[in-house]
């Protein structure tokens, strides 16, 4: 549920759509989400490549909120993805990327040919706060998951001190090394939250290295939603 591509400035050049799909297949992953920094643009080409191999691709982005907390925003349909991309475009500051310092931001096609270089620096913070983003994601029918919440940088806890009690998240992503019971005892105000772990892959060998297992009837966005909510017998099995 948290994979970067070559489009993210920090994503390795090997993180092409084709390589990501092949690596996911090799690791027997059923469902992945593509979450570049403040961009959903690589979702469609990866879905197109993954479908024939029986891998489901969820659209998404790892958004940097105004408070500089990273949050995963996940979507099912192309229409939702486009609307959310419009929202990002509206709220991303127009500060050009410097590839020498941050890395290249390229959109490629299914044959790894470069289609476009994205000008604004994608790791910047959006001009909108976390509550606004959460509400927008949910209004569009998406899932909202604060990322690596226990990391000392760019996490909801580092930036905001604690998880705001009225924030409507669908799950919380914890760092792969973290023991969930430690998080729950340190943040005892969290009442039985759904916790997941993801690879946050920036390099190809990281794709599928860390993953969460879900009890689902089939690998779809709707089933994933139910699993995160613990509905109809669907659930997070573990990581």
């Amino acid at each position: 549920m948290h994979i970067h591509t070559v489009l993210s400035p920090c994503g390795d050049l090997e993180m092409s759509p084709r390589n990501i799909v092949e690596q996911a297949k090799a690791r027997n992953i059923d469902i992945i989400a593509i979450t570049d920094h403040n961009s959903t643009l690589h979702g469609p080409v990866i879905r197109k490549l993954a479908e024939p191999l029986g891998i489901t691709v969820i659209f998404g982005a790892e958004v940097t909120t105004r408070e500089e907390a990273h949050c995963l925003c996940l979507f099912d349909t192309e229409a939702q993805r486009q609307k959310f991309q419009d929202y990002i475009n509206l709220n991303l500051p127009n500060i050009p990327n410097d590839p020498k310092n941050f890395g290249y931001q390229v959109v490629v096609d299914e044959n790894d040919e470069i289609l476009e270089e994205i000008e604004p620096l994608l790791i910047n913070a959006l001009k909108v706060g976390i509550s606004d983003i959460e509400q927008t994601v949910h209004m569009l029918g998406g899932l909202f998951i604060p990322a690596h919440i226990d990391r000392p940088r760019f996490s909801i806890i580092s930036q905001l001190g604690f998880v705001p009690p009225d924030l409507k998240f669908d799950a919380l992503e914890i760092f792969w090394k973290t023991n969930p019971s430690d998080i729950l005892s340190q943040h005892s105000y969290l009442k039985n939250p759904t916790l997941i772990k993801n690879s946050d892959a920036h390099f190809i060998e990281q794709v599928g290295e860390i993953f969460t297992s879900y009890q689902m009837a089939e690998p779809t966005f709707n089933e994933l939603t139910k699993a995160l909510k613990g509905e109809d017998g669907r659930r997070v099995v573990g990581f």
Binding site: E67, S131, S158, Q159, L160, G161, F162
Partner: protein, 111 residues
């Protein structure tokens, strides 16, 4: 020195928490990482920040800070105002940037 003295000297805007303007000021803290402020600010500090999420008020209340100063013309979110009034911890504002306003506060407190 009271919060009201700082408001007057630096011509700060008072957004909320007027009933706390008589709080005593004991130094200050500058950070936009709320986890850092929670760990390192002290009772009676003026807190200068650009964060306006309502968790700011929760931290100020927990740490019993004297007041919050928002820089660069940033305004608090609506529910933050409400909590500031309840907690009687003022939220103040200025168009100055952090560097400038902190320099002035430092001079004021240490003069």
């Amino acid at each position: 020195m009271q919060v009201s003295d700082v408001v007057k000297a630096l011509n700060l805007k008072v957004f909320s928490g007027k009933s706390g303007l008589n709080r005593e000021v004991d130094g200050g803290y500058v950070s936009d990482l709320l986890s850092d402020v929670m760990g390192h600010s002290d009772t009676g500090n003026l807190w200068v920040t650009l964060q306006n999420h309502k968790n700011v008020m929760a931290i100020a209340s927990l740490k019993e800070l004297a007041a919050i100063i928002l820089v660069k013309g940033i305004e608090p979110e609506a529910d933050t105002l409400e909590q500031s009034n309840q907690e009687q911890i003022p939220i103040l504002g200025t168009d100055m940037e952090t560097f400038e306003v902190v320099g002035k506060i430092y001079q004021l407190i240490n003069s």
